[in-house]
Symmetry: C2
Subunit: 499 residues, 2 copies
């Protein structure tokens, strides 16, 4: 790749074309496992729930990170790094919080051959690691806001079945932890960050999400409230939490004694937020856009936006002119800021290469053969809709750039259309039950009662759960009743299958 291999013409081109054995519509889970492996994003590992993230995946992660990091820098948020390991004392300080994580915590009890005096946890999240220092650093109102972020790994030992990117024992994330003098500032930041998460999903990954609020049952352990960007997978009927922005209120501040002297000279608790997005983003992108040919990458996050493939074999006598043209095309595209490369490998056929880059989801494949060369054109194939377009060499850069924009746009629109077509408004338990069985994204008026939500989950044998109450609430006409309890409804809420 990106280099020429001198033709060893005697070699065979019989490398078998790799295809997926499962269909996305028929067997979603198997399809997903196959596509992340064959698309070269993931390798399975000998510890369940741990995965190898290959460069094809990490490059996408890094593109999102660059965007997000630049945005939070504008908000004056600073990067730091707190330890991976946390003592039981620290971890157990906040009871509600640790209760949420306790079953998932990995404990280190030995170093070399020696037993540790006390077991030490691997961070499942860093609230209890960081907040003792917040208490130390914050004294007066001028120390506020304190806005920190770190990029790191966390470990949560899941008992549920692991799924690459989506539910794993270790994952990468950013975690933001901030403290403010007033609730208003904290509330505003929760929304600012939520908007960045929406942009990551919608503008970069082309995955439509709903901005909403989690119910009391599903909010972050120890938080005042949890805002979320919620995605939906039409093929499986699952709602998936995309990222959360939590207002912690003053709860942790009381526990960790994070106080400041306000302008009146009184010592008061700070208001805190925490917010995170994880490598789950990558899994959602694959689930939403992938098809039976493999990955489909949105151009904005693809480390390779266009792959140029010579439509001749190196057996043919005229291959050199085509190879030169491939290199010239890539040079042109690269200089115009398009991420492009060529595939001049001589031991793979044109068909094999097309299928290979299709599996890896490259947004645009550009083929060029002897006839194309004569006609001063190339043949482009869009990964999103398989459309083939002849492009005159004269305005190649401009048209490639346009095509990439269209692919990005189209992926989002198609995904949104699919998601929206799954939305079913229900008013009664019967309608709810039917919609759930049809794998719909259910939208229902609800009484906002914790017990009723638990009851819904019980009545569906843990099959259903609330996803979020959208921030943008439609009006609730006088007399509207909760679909589940029959009590007066107070908010519209999304429900779906529980992943």
């Amino acid at each position: 790749m990106g280099t020429r291999s001198e033709g060893k013409k005697e070699e065979t081109l019989n490398e078998p074309i790799i295809s997926l054995s499962s269909r996305k519509d028929e067997n979603f889970e198997e399809w997903y496992s196959e596509v992340v492996v064959n698309g070269e994003m993931i390798e399975y590992y000998d510890i369940p729930g741990c995965y190898v993230m290959r460069p094809w995946a990490i490059s996408i992660w890094e593109i999102m990170k660059e965007f997000f990091y630049a945005e939070i820098k504008k908000m004056k948020i600073k990067n730091c790094y707190f330890p991976l390991l946390v003592s039981a004392d620290f971890l157990h300080k906040e009871k509600d919080h640790i209760k949420g994580f306790a079953p998932e915590v990995a404990w280190v009890t030995r170093s070399g051959e020696s037993e540790l005096k006390l077991p030490i946890a691997i961070r499942p999240t860093s609230e209890s690691v960081m907040y003792p220092y917040f208490s130390k650093w914050i004294r007066g109102h001028r120390d506020l806001p304190l806005q920190f972020n770190q990029w790191c790994n966390v470990v949560r030992w899941e008992s549920r079945k692991p799924t690459p990117f989506i539910r794993s024992c270790e994952f990468l994330w950013q975690e933001g932890h901030t403290a403010f003098a007033t609730k208003e500032e904290a509330d505003n930041e929760v929304l600012d960050i939520l908007e960045l998460y929406r942009r990551i999903y919608e503008e970069f990954l082309a995955v439509p999400v709903i901005k909403g609020k989690k119910t009391e049952n599903h909010k972050f352990a120890g938080s005042l409230y949890t805002n979320t960007v919620e995605a939906f997978i039409p093929n499986s009927g699952h709602g998936l939490q995309g990222a959360t922005s939590n207002c912690l209120g003053q709860h942790f501040a009381r526990t960790f004694e994070i106080n400041f002297e306000n302008e009146k000279g009184e010592s008061v608790n700070v208001w805190q937020n925490s917010w995170a997005y994880t490598t789950r983003t990558l899994g959602l992108m694959v689930m939403v856009h992938g098809d039976d040919k493999g990955l489909v990458l949105p151009p904005k996050v693809a480390s390779l936006q266009a792959i140029v493939i010579p439509n001749v074999s190196s057996f043919s006598t005229n291959f050199q002119a085509i190879f030169d043209e491939c290199e010239a095309i890539v040079k042109n595209l690269t200089e115009a800021g398009i991420r492009a490369d060529f595939d001049l490998r001589d031991n793979y056929s044109y068909e094999w290469k097309n299928s290979h880059w299709e599996m890896k989801g490259v947004p645009l494949r550009i083929g060029i053969g002897l006839e194309d060369l004569a006609n001063k054109k190339v043949r482009a194939v869009r990964r999103d809709n398989f459309e083939e377009i002849d492009i005159p060499m004269a305005n190649l850069v401009e048209q490639v750039r346009n095509l990439l924009d269209h692919i990005q746009q189209n992926l989002f629109e198609v995904a949104k259309q699919k998601r929206d077509s799954c939305i079913r408004v229900v008013h009664s338990w019967e309608e709810f039950d039917e919609a759930l069985n049809q794998k719909k994204l259910i939208f229902a008026p609800w009484c906002d009662d914790e017990a009723v939500e638990k009851d819904v989950t019980n009545r569906t044998n843990n099959d259903a759960k609330s996803l979020c109450s959208p921030l943008d609430q439609p009006p609730i006409p006088e007399g509207t009743l909760c679909f589940a309890s029959g009590k007066p409804a107070t908010k519209w809420t999304y429900w779906g299958k529980s992943f």
Copy 2:
């Protein structure tokens, strides 16, 4: 910072000025602990050997990372991410290698309340995590070179006394892992990476290093040879390994069965390298440049290169004009690409602010008072040599840029001069012993015998060890004898106190 606080004029300015209680020349270890804490790089943590890295430290790490990452991208090296956790089976596969790390490995034995069936290690390094996949991915000569890098954390439970950045239980690093068809390619890459490490130290951190080769006793466990950039701390007389670039030879390839079919159709082992630099870089920078006033940051890595401080208090009636000028100066500097900020806090005095930013090591402090304003100038103070310079406002940007360049250059030159003045060439045991007691960086002809090196360490009660044999070897005149064994010398080698 960077925002104005509206003057609460009744407040006192009695905040005590923080100074160091230890002197670098008198009590180096205490001085170092104080300076990393008071300079706001580090906070101590309740688990020994773990430290909180504050934004002031992480921002330096990120500047180096940006440079290094751009350089290895040019070499076609790709980022990936392998798991934190590794099974005992994987870890123990390579005997020589694990023997080097076994006493330092942290073991997870419990998740939540459940005992794991088999203990799982936290990576001390990732050779045994990655190489089973190298074996899978590499089949033919066209799969080579395979060049991966990851940015991550590793854990090594040190029995020796921990020191922030320098020797810690968890640290951040990049680890590169590459495979080649030939030894020649591997050898070349070892040197290319070593040159990048030299540039990080010399061009960015202004820390002089010696490029050399480790002895057999000190090479990376399981490697063929280890190249190093070696730094020296004049105040303590310690040599410190700055970063290593290892050629692993074919040793791991045999163990992990990493083979490729060469052009003759034979299955042969690949040649491998691994290389890493860590957050130790930050500690070395502090140790070399810091002084009794606190940190001294080289401009190229300082997240804040110039701090602008109004030389009026907000009690005075004319402060507004000065405050406005401070903001204008920062705007000018920032637009010219200089990392600048102002400190308009009204609850700290001019003296306090000067001392504060001096402690934090900001390369240039720019003060401006009413008289300065009238004379259209500012007063700059260099952190490296305390020189005060009046700069006419008219060519502020140009002069600030020049000053920053000079500071960077001067820090390196002063550090190199200090280091060089510690070098002592010795030819006999008596000279060696004397130089060691004087904390010198000892340069001696040596017989390159492992047993002799162990003997040197024993004879000095573990006080001395070899640092490296410089790649650039002076000639060894006929008849030159080893300083320790009296046998014929074969190479020049640096020795020093063992940290």
